[in-house]
């Protein structure tokens, strides 16, 4: 029982669901309780004075046939609802059953069901409905509902089948089997609940469709003759020219009720979607955020212009990032993904940017490219490439800068290439946007050279992405990124999806091309080994802040920030079979950063000051470090073993339990949001 209650965990209930249910409840209550307050005899023709507008006596007025409209409406609502429910429930039940069988078991059964359903879908339903309706002598709402169901069950069948096909391949099906569940249990316990949003949407669509179709038929006079429905009410209103006579109280109420039912069902289906998929989070309106974004950017530009005049000293730097701040704002909260970060890079420099997921590495890259999307926005600071202030550029100017001056090698090359375009077309597109004066042969030469340059055969130009291996695709991305000779290359975990051998080759190629171009490169990653192999300098990000920044050898040989030290130690070493250690706990969620130094809950050396005061970057042993241990501390002492997770020595220290999980991740899904932004 309490398990059932937990299903109704408050996070599953949304405003949409509540409002929808309230609207439907009101409509139903009116039709159920109405007869207690209204004299239902008044629906007979001539029961009251005809054609009276709404008054205290007849709240919705009377029609030209002398009927009380309120009484008519109250008797019509349940009939229409009944018809809609019969059509919806029967149609969707058939659809659910056939869709489940078809999708889950597949094979010949699937073929038969699909052929049958698809061929029925080619038959025009409304036409058949018209024929049936005009030929049945005594049409009742029940017959009407069943007829609609018989003509509409194929649509839910199709929806459900395609969903089952996708769900049955998910890894949690295998986990359920490993847990000892039988096939039927897998079907009912694992597959079915995930169909709730689709069943709900189908049900709502079917009920709505049925009500609208029959209201349409009835308003042509082809409906149930023995009772009032919302449709027949509209029919009579039309028949007796209520619109022409200005008797709005006759035709408007049934239309409003139909609309209310529609809106109520729609909101409930949206709410059920969230109910069945608790991972969906509230997103607010995109437009207001965009407007805000623009306003903030203008403010940031003013500030950056002011900075520009003071910061003319560091002339040789290629890239200068000053007090960059990127804020994410969602319904769940807001927080800085990049928090007041400043650094500069020299031409040709390779900078490794490291940190765990959710520490702001990717957000930083997108901010440098001015590609931050809502719910994120650049809230302050400046990014200068040479003497151009990137954040002050208009969109069109920015677009021209990208690829030509700053290029991105994306994380998943397989997804960043267009699957329906040949490699040559994708390269040509990229070139043409920026180099409008080049002739076709010149472009072809450029494509050829760029492919050879990244170690691919020129024939690759004629292929489609699916004909290439993962490593080849990533080489193509490098070719696209470097074809126009950018000054800065940002490589966001460029090899994370590749095998080790391929990773090495791709990285060597990227390194060579970058060197030949003389471009600077930001290499983002969480593998310290790869960063050590390829960087000249390193920047360590934690919770959006740059906690250590300096020459790679200096930092690796003697990391000053405890986080850098723990990151290095968390990588297993080949040379010794000694233990490698994990960092206990998790990076804090974006919307719930601890005060003082964000790292203090996980830091083995934290003391009172760390909880109260945010450390500013200071120069320690030739690099920037943001840590309160300095300048007092001469050397970082060994990490106390009890505070970390050790693998390799068998016995687990007591410190293995995540210490910070509770305060870092409150129960409102912040972790997922934080991770998604990295």
């Amino acid at each position: 029982m309490n398990r059932l209650l937990r299903l109704f965990n408050s996070q599953r209930i949304t405003t949409n669901l509540i409002i929808g249910l309230v609207i439907l409840a009101i409509v139903i209550l009116v039709s159920l309780l109405g007869p207690m307050f209204v004299d239902m005899e008044l629906i007979e023709v001539g029961a009251v004075a005809p054609s009276k507008p709404p008054s205290a006596e007849y709240l919705l007025g009377t029609d030209s046939q002398g009927r009380d409209m309120l009484a008519v409406l109250i008797s019509a609502i349940p009939q229409t609802l009944k018809m809609g429910l019969i059509a919806g429930i029967v149609g969707v039940s058939i659809g659910l059953l056939l869709g489940l069988l078809s999708g889950f078991f597949g094979g010949p059964l699937d073929t038969v069901i699909r052929v049958f359903a698809d061929s029925l879908m080619t038959v025009p339903g409304i036409a058949i409905l018209l024929v049936i309706a005009s030929n049945i002598e005594s049409m009742t709402v029940e017959v009407m509902g069943l007829t609609v169901a018989a003509l509409a069950w194929m649509y839910p069948t199709r929806t459900i089948r395609s969903q089952v096909l996708s769900i049955r391949e998910r890894p949690y099906m295998a986990v359920a089997r490993a847990n000892g569940e039988s096939e039927l249990e897998v079907l009912f316990r694992e597959v079915m609940p995930n169909l709730v949003p689709y069943v709900a949407a189908s049900l709502v669509a079917s009920i709505n469709g049925a009500i609208l179709a029959t209201v349409g038929l009835e308003s042509l006079g082809l409906g149930a003759q023995n009772v009032h429905t919302l449709g027949t009410t509209i029919y009579w209103a039309r028949r007796y020219s209520a619109v022409l006579r200005g008797q709005w109280w006759w035709w408007a109420p049934p239309i409003i009720v139909v609309s209310l039912i529609f809106i109520g069902l729609f909101l409930v289906s949206m709410g059920l979607d969230r109910f069945a998929n608790p991972a969906l989070t509230g997103q607010g309106s995109a437009r207001t955020r965009r407007r805000k974004n623009k306003a903030q950017r203008n403010a940031a530009q003013l500030k950056a212009a002011a900075n520009h005049q003071t910061g003319a000293d560091n002339q040789s730097a290629l890239l200068r990032v000053d007090n960059l701040q990127v804020v994410f704002e969602t319904a769940a909260g807001s927080g800085p993904a990049v928090d007041n970060v400043s650094f500069s890079m020299q031409p040709g420099e390779r900078m490794g940017l490291v940190g765990e997921s959710g520490c702001g590495k990717t957000t930083m890259a997108t901010a440098i490219l001015s590609l931050v999307r809502p719910p994120g926005r650049i809230a302050g600071g400046s990014v200068q490439l040479g003497d151009i202030d990137l954040l002050a550029l208009r969109d069109e100017e920015l677009r021209k800068m990208r690829l030509k001056e700053i290029a991105l090698v994306p994380q998943a090359a397989m997804n960043s290439l267009n699957p329906v375009m040949r490699i040559s077309e994708q390269l040509a597109d990229a070139i043409r946007v920026h180099e409008t004066t080049l002739s076709q042969p010149e472009i072809e030469t450029l494509i050829r050279d760029s492919l050879i340059n990244v170690g691919l055969s020129p024939e690759v130009a004629n292929r489609y992405p699916h004909q290439l291996s993962g490593g080849m695709k990533q080489r193509v991305s490098i070719a696209i990124a470097t074809v126009l000779g950018p000054q800065l290359i940002i490589a966001d975990e460029p090899t994370s999806a590749l095998d080790v051998v391929v990773q090495q080759r791709v990285m060597l190629t990227l390194g060579r091309v970058q060197k030949e171009l003389g471009a600077a490169m930001i290499l983002i990653g969480h593998d310290m080994g790869l960063i050590a192999q390829f960087s000249d300098t390193i920047g360590v990000l934690y919770a959006g802040k740059m906690v250590e920044r300096g020459d790679i050898d200096t930092v690796l040989n003697e990391p000053c920030h405890p986080y850098t030290r723990l990151l290095i130690d968390s990588l297993p070493k080949l040379e010794s079979e000694s233990e490698f250690i994990g960092i206990p706990g998790l990076p804090p969620a974006l919307f719930n950063r601890p005060g003082g130094c964000s790292f203090h809950p996980r830091c083995p050396f934290a003391f009172e000051r760390c909880m109260a005061e945010t450390p500013e970057p200071q120069l320690v042993k030739g690099r920037q470090v943001a840590c309160h241990l300095y300048p007092d501390l001469g050397q970082l002492p060994p990490i106390p073993i009890s505070s970390v997770v050790v693998a390799g020595d068998g016995a687990l220290p007591t410190g293995i339990v995540d210490k910070t999980t509770t305060d870092a991740n409150t129960a409102n899904g912040n972790t997922a949001t934080g991770e998604a932004q990295s």
Binding site: G180, E190, P193, V502, M507, L571, L574, G650, D658, N668
Partner: protein
Amino acid sequence: MTELLKVSNASKMFYDGPIWRRQTTVAVDNISFSIADDRPSITGVVGESGSGKTTLALLLLGYAQPSKGQVVYRGQDLADMSKQERFEFRRVVQPIFQDPFAAFNPFYLVDHVLQVPIKRFNLASTEAEAEELIVEALQLVGLRPAETLGRFPHQLSGGQRQRIMVARALLCRPQLIIADEPVSMVDASLRATILASLQTLNRDLGISIVYITHDLTTAHQVCDNIIVMYGGQVVEAGAVGRVIRDPQHPYTQLLVSSIPLMDRSQRWENQETTEPTEQNGRVSVGCKFAPRCPHAEDRCWTSPPPLYQTESTRAVACVLQDNSPVLEGHDVTSVFL
């Protein structure tokens, strides 16, 4: 030595295309090894994608049937088990999957995956007892029940989710866990926590583990023995320290030299890396690595090299080692520690 699970000369073929132009892919090619019943072990299986390591996992779990050879659980061929025997096998040999998010049904709280096995396998007689088992399992993998139970999967980190999966496997009281790339989708800083829980299960509870990975450094860290696969074949196998610190097969050497070491004195860019001499289009019916091998000879292309036992704890399938004796019975378990 009694065997818990024994793979003998197992091959798995996949077929593609119409019958008259059928293409055969050999995912697992004549592999023999076993997991001891009396001595808990951690066996690593490494190789790149397409090397057949995941197919091997499916064979071990009984999710796929070998096309040739057999997989035997305590003397009983998986192919002719009764329903009851299969149910028991399902409990004793437990999987851990790669993606710690997709392994959870998003509809349920994480409690669901922990409650189901207790119910299905009748592991507890009362609710309270079940609760106790869950708490105990979570603590064993280093999680605090109060911070994990009653949450949805998306509210936990990748590391926590994967450790819940370890706890789930543990609840079934297994004797063997097949972990297929259990840490490859988790941040480097959190990998140690998951591997540490696997090691606890092995050392304290006597559960054997087959650790499938493409990451040689973690394999080196946690495994006793290792099997290196390429193109569905075993190319090298033996004690993990020997194989990784002093690789003999050209493919193992390539793998080891591709590890991004943090040691700045061993930077790739300062080393001679021989680009593989890709022999375009030529298919090897012998050693699958021949097209990429700098030492390939004519005989490599025509017949697969046998496993040579180069020392007491290592076997290598390479003609360069043909002065060593051929490994009896092709079963690499005989060179395991």
